[in-house]
Symmetry: C2
Subunit: 167 residues, 2 copies
DNA sequence: TTAAACTTTCAATATTTTTTGAAAGTTTAA
DNA sequence: TTAAACTTTCAAAAAATATTGAAAGTTTAA
């Protein structure tokens, strides 16, 4: 396997993996492209490499910036915008964990809380609903609090502090 | 909020959350319905509660069985099949973690391994591709090995062993 | 056996999500 | 100012995904 083929394979693998971390294909592919690029890229270059439209590129780069994964680079004397992504995988993982917690886990926790606190009318059905949503709520809270600790951990949390406990 | 409304809210919340753990809406909703039901349900009952077709119900129940989350219950003297889901949230979390690792994380690790081991021709681009896919590969392996430990952990791993370290 | 009761399959259809591209908007150099 | 260079927006189109429903398949009781 040569460079070009390997690069394309990386971009497509990462792209189809987008769903795993909750973003769409183009967004994931743009991130992947920047991740293995040795220099910041322009909208034009991204469009050309990934064969996607200007609008698509613009919207997805904006979303990546929103997530805090991609930053605009200002090249002196250049009019157009250059983009680059966070290159450190640990930092990347931290950002993603934080955003997913904020966007998805926290709202669900709130909903489960609301549901599990309905009035107990004594019926078996109501009691089961309360019991099960409470159990899920507790699990989600615990998982989220672990994620939160990880997010606030300093560099190398994964290999150093966490892995030690499990290995 | 009354029972019926709370139940519907739970099913729809869980359903739209399906993407978080990598399954489709109907599948997640069926699981949610069984999760708060006090007794196993038939295909007919699932269809009626969720207002989905027979085919849809059949296919998604099969997939849930495939995942190991739902089981067929044989009711003596009854011809039709009854379904119920794993009711313990910790066990549920373990099953899901295990399946996602097997279905998604492991294949990606293999691909990253393959890409990161292309021949280094000395060019900057190739070196960056190798370095970055290697870094991702290591992160994915570490995360997966943690997931694996969790999966093999006994009951209550979350609250007992893990939470203690982080709280 | 047979036929009723039930389950599965899958082509067609519907729905949802993503992408396009051209027009509108913005910025900057002169 | 103006106009070229660039970015954003968004309605329409395309692509991907999920759902339906009826026919085919399977199981079981008699």
């Amino acid at each position: 396997m040569q460079y070009q083929e390997a690069k394309e394979k990386f971009i497509s693998t990462w792209g189809s993996l987008g769903s795993l971390w909750g973003i769409n294909k183009a967004m994931a592919q743009i991130q992947a492209l920047l991740f293995v690029s040795t220099k910041p890229l322009t909208t034009e270059e991204i469009m050309e490499e990934l064969k996607i439209s200007r609008g698509n590129t613009s919207m997805n780069v904006r979303q990546l910036i929103d997530w805090g994964i991609v930053t605009k680079e200002l090249v002196p004397g250049e009019r157009k915008e250059y983009f680059s992504t966070e290159k450190d995988v640990q930092e990347l993982a931290r950002i993603i964990a934080k955003e997913r917690s904020r966007r998805e886990i926290k709202p669900v926790i709130r909903t489960l809380e609301e549901i599990s606190s309905i009035k107990d009318d004594g019926s078996e059905n109501t009691q089961e609903l309360i019991r099960q949503t409470k159990a899920l709520h507790d699990l989600a809270e615990t998982a989220d609090s672990i994620l939160e600790k990880i997010v606030h951990q300093k560099q190398n949390w994964l290999t150093k502090s966490v892995l030690k406990m499990f290995k």
